[in-house]
C-alpha cells in the first residue's frame, strides 16, 4: 500500500540504513524526509503530514518521545489522523518494558530485517483500519488508544534520558532573580509554570518571574498531586483551576481563579479533567 514516512535518527549511517531497508521491505513507502534531531522531526512531520514516523529515542535537543508528545499535542485537527509512531532504540532499560506493554511499535538497533518486516505489516494494518471510509467513532477510538499509549510512555521515568530518574526533593519556594535581587516565591502562590525556550515563566496572581531552569528539570521537583502538567510546556496548580471546557478537537480550555489568563490543556492531558 502507498504511504508516506518520516525518519528521525541522529546517526547518519543508521538513518541511511533504515531508509534502505524500508525501501526494500515496503517499496511503495515514500520516505518524505530523513532528519537528524527531534525538533526537525516535529517540524517536518507537521509540514509533510506523513502516515508513519520512525523516531529514534535518544536524539540531541529533543528525544524521540518528546517529539512524539509534541506531534500528538500540535497535530492540527483537519490534517487527518495522527501518524503511526514507531520508536527505534538501541538500549533503554526503562523503555523496553514500557514498550512491551504498549501497542506503539518499536524496533531495536541493530535493526533486523525480519523484525522490521513485522513492523511494516503492523503499520500497514493500522493504516488500513483508519482509511477515510472507516467509521468516525473508530478513528476517535484509535486516536484515544494512541494517546493512552503515549501517556503511559511519558509516565515511565527514565525513558530517553541517560540515567535513572531519581526522586528529587520537592521545592518549597521558587527562587527567581529580578534585577540584582532574588525573589522567594512560595510554591503555593504559583498559579502556573510555562516553558519559554530554556527558561520557565512563573506566574503568580500579582506578577510573573522568569527562572533559568528547563521545565523538564523543574517538573520532578514539584508535588504532582498539587501541580498538574496539562501540556508539554505547561504545569498548573490544580486548585487554581476554576473551570475546564473540552472542545471538539479534544483540547481543554482552562480558566483560573483570580486570574484572567486562559490556558489550554492538550489532548494528551485531557483525561485529567473528568467530572467525578
Amino acid at each position: 500500500m502507498k504511504a508516506r514516512a518520516l525518519i528521525a535518527e541522529d546517526e547518519p549511517l543508521l538513518a541511511a540504513n533504515l531508509q534502505a531497508e524500508l525501501a526494500r521491505l515496503w517499496p511503495e513507502l515514500d520516505i518524505a524526509a530523513n532528519v537528524r534531531h527531534g525538533a526537525a522531526a516535529v517540524e517536518s512531520a507537521l509540514e509533510l503530514r506523513p502516515d508513519v514516523v520512525f523516531l529514534d529515542i535518544r536524539m540531541p535537543g529533543m528525544t524521540g518521545l518528546e517529539a512524539a508528545q509534541a506531534l500528538a499535542e500540535d497535530w492540527p485537527d483537519g490534517a487527518g489522523p495522527l501518524p503511526a509512531i514507531v520508536f527505534v532504540t538501541a538500549y533503554d532499560q526503562y523503555a523496553l518494558q514500557a514498550f512491551e506493554h504498549s501497542a506503539v511499535d518499536y524496533v531495536l538497533k541493530p535493526v533486523q530485517p525480519e523484525r522490521l518486516a513485522q513492523t511494516c505489516s503492523r503499520v500497514q494494518a493500522a493504516l488500513k483500519a483508519r482509511q477515510p471510509n472507516g467509521q468516525a467513532p473508530d478513528r476517535a477510538a484509535a486516536l484515544e488508544a494512541t494517546l493512552g499509549q503515549l501517556r503511559h510512555l511519558l509516565g515511565t521515568p527514565g525513558i530517553g534520558t541517560a540515567g535513572a530518574a531519581t526522586a528529587a526533593p520537592k521545592l518549597g519556594v521558587i527562587q527567581a532573580s529580578v534585577g540584582s535581587a532574588v525573589h522567594l516565591v512560595p510554591i503555593g502562590e504559583v498559579l502556573y509554570f510555562e516553558a519559554a525556550d530554556k527558561y520557565v515563566r512563573v506566574i503568580t496572581a500579582e506578577r510573573e518571574y522568569l527562572i533559568r531552569t528547563a521545565l523538564r528539570e523543574l517538573i520532578p521537583q514539584l508535588d504532582e498531586t498539587r501541580f498538574w502538567q496539562v501540556h508539554r510546556g505547561l504545569v498548573v496548580r490544580a486548585d487554581a483551576i476554576a473551570t475546564a471546557v473540552r472542545d471538539e478537537s479534544g483540547k481543554v480550555h482552562l480558566t483560573l481563579r483570580g486570574h484572567k489568563d486562559k490556558l489550554v490543556a492538550s489532548r494528551l492531558y485531557a483525561h485529567l479533567f473528568k467530572a467525578m
Binding site: 535537543g61 538500549y91 532499560q93
Partner: protein, 382 residues
C-alpha cells in the same frame, strides 16, 4: 544494607545484641563453675558451697561489668556524629573498660558473696575479715578471671565484627566493579556501535574491519583496566582515539576530536582508562545533546612539576545539572586518583568561558622525579 536511622540502633541489631548479652551471662555462669572446681581442687574446700559462691560471684561480676559497659560506651562516644559507627558502638575502649572491670568485679565479689552466704549459710572470708594476703588473693581470684573473660568476649566479638565488615566491604567492591564495567561497556554505546558496524559490513567492508579492530582494542582495554596497574600515556591516548573513532563514525560530522601529547610525556605511566569516563561524559552530557555537535580535545602537558591532563568539549556545558551518570564517572576518577596518588592528585571540572563554551575537566598528577625510575602505581583500582 539496612542503615539505622540517625542516632538509633537498628531494632534488629538491638535484638541481636540483647541475645549476645544473655549468652555472655550464661557463659559467665559456666566460667564461674570452672573457677569453683579449680578452687575446690586447689584448697579442698566444700564442693557445693564453693560452687555456689564461685557462680554467684561470676554471674554478678559479669552483670555489673557488662551492664556498666553500655553507658560507658555511650559516654565515651557522646561526641560522635549520629549514625557513625562510633555512635553505634558498645565498646568504650580498654582504659575505661579496665576501670569498669575493677569496679564491676569488686561489686560482683561483694554482692555475689553476700548472696551466696544467704543461699548457703556459709560465710566466706571477705576482704575486710582476713589478712591482707588473703584479701589480695580473693580480689585477684575474681579480678583476674574477670579481666581474662572480658578480653575473651571482646576479641570474639571484635573478630565477628571484623568479619561482618570485611563481608560488607567485599560486597561493595564487587558491586562497584560491576557498576564500573557496566558504565564502561555502556549498553547503549555498544549496541549503537554494533548497529553501525552491521551497516558498514554491507557498504564498506574495509571500513567495517577497521571499526571492528577499534572496538576490539577498546573492549580489551576496558576489560584489562581493572587488572593492570598502569600503562604509558601514549597507550591511554591510543585507547581514547579508538573510542572517539567509534563515536565519530556514529555521530558523523557532529563530532571532531583533537589530541595533544608532547613526545617527552608519551612514556609516563598512567592508570589505564583514567581519562575514559571524562571523555565519555564529554560525549554523553556535552556533545550528544547538542544538535550541532562540536569538538573534543584531549591534551597532556607538564606544568610546574605536575602532569596536567585536560579533556575539553564544546558541548552544552555544565548548565544542565550533572546527572547521576556524570557523578558516577567523576566519583570513579576521583576514587582512583585518591587510591593511587593520595592528596597529590586533583580532578576539577569547570565551565569554559570562551565563545565556544562547553566543559573542561582537568587532572593534575605528580610527575615522577627526573632520573628516578618511573614509579608504578602500586595498587590496582577497583
Amino acid at each position: 544494607m539496612s542503615a539505622a536511622p540517625f542516632g538509633l540502633v537498628d531494632p534488629e541489631v538491638r535484638a541481636e545484641r540483647r541475645g549476645r548479652f544473655w549468652m555472655r551471662g550464661l557463659r559467665s555462669l559456666g566460667y564461674g563453675a570452672l573457677i569453683g572446681l579449680l578452687i575446690t581442687g586447689l584448697t579442698g574446700q566444700s564442693f557445693w558451697i564453693t560452687m555456689v559462691h564461685s557462680m554467684c560471684i561470676a554471674v554478678l561480676c559479669w552483670f555489673f561489668i557488662d551492664l556498666g559497659r553500655v553507658p560507658a560506651a555511650r559516654w565515651k562516644h557522646r561526641n560522635a556524629a549520629a549514625g557513625s559507627p562510633e555512635a553505634d558502638s558498645n565498646w568504650p575502649g580498654w582504659p575505661l573498660m579496665l576501670v569498669i572491670v575493677v569496679i564491676g568485679s569488686l561489686l560482683g565479689f561483694t554482692i555475689g558473696g553476700t548472696l551466696a552466704e544467704w543461699l548457703t549459710g556459709y560465710s566466706a572470708p571477705g576482704y575486710l575479715r582476713g589478712s591482707v594476703r588473703q584479701t589480695v588473693a580473693l580480689v585477684l581470684s575474681s579480678l583476674v578471671p574477670a579481666l581474662i573473660i572480658t578480653y575473651w568476649f571482646y576479641s570474639r566479638e571484635a573478630i565477628a565484627g571484623h568479619e561482618a565488615a570485611a563481608q560488607v566491604a567485599q560486597r561493595q567492591a564487587a558491586e562497584n566493579q560491576l557498576k564500573l564495567l557496566e558504565s564502561q561497556l555502556e549498553p547503549h554505546m555498544l549496541f549503537n556501535t554494533l548497529a553501525n558496524l552491521r551497516v558498514l559490513i554491507g557498504i564498506d567492508p574495509a571500513r567495517a574491519q577497521a571499526m571492528l579492530d577499534q572496538l576490539i582494542a577498546f573492549l580489551r582495554a576496558t576489560l584489562n583496566a581493572s587488572r593492570s596497574a598502569s600503562h604509558p600515556l601514549d597507550a591511554e591516548f591510543a585507547r581514547l582515539r579508538d573510542y572517539l573513532a567509534l563515536m565519530e563514525l556514529r555521530m558523523g560530522e557532529r563530532l571532531q576530536s583533537r589530541f595533544e601529547l608532547p613526545e617527552e610525556l608519551a612514556g609516563l605511566p598512567l592508570p589505564p582508562l583514567l581519562l575514559q569516563p571524562l571523555v565519555e561524559n564529554s560525549i554523553k552530557h556535552g556533545l550528544e545533546p547538542k544538535v550541532e555537535g562540536g569538538r573534543i580535545e584531549v591534551s597532556a602537558a607538564r606544568e610546574s612539576g605536575e602532569l596536567v591532563l585536560r579533556v575539553r568539549d564544546t558541548g552544552v556545558g555544565l548548565a544542565d545539572k550533572a546527572s547521576d551518570g556524570t557523578r558516577f564517572g567523576l566519583t570513579q576518577v576521583r576514587e582512583r586518583l585518591a587510591t593511587l596518588y593520595g592528596a597529590q592528585a586533583r580532578l576539577s571540572l569547570s565551565a569554559c568561558d570562551d565563545a565556544e563554551g562547553g566543559t573542561l575537566a582537568t587532572i593534575r598528577l605528580p610527575l615522577p622525579a627526573p632520573g628516578a625510575p618511573t614509579p608504578t602505581p602500586d595498587a590496582t583500582t577497583r
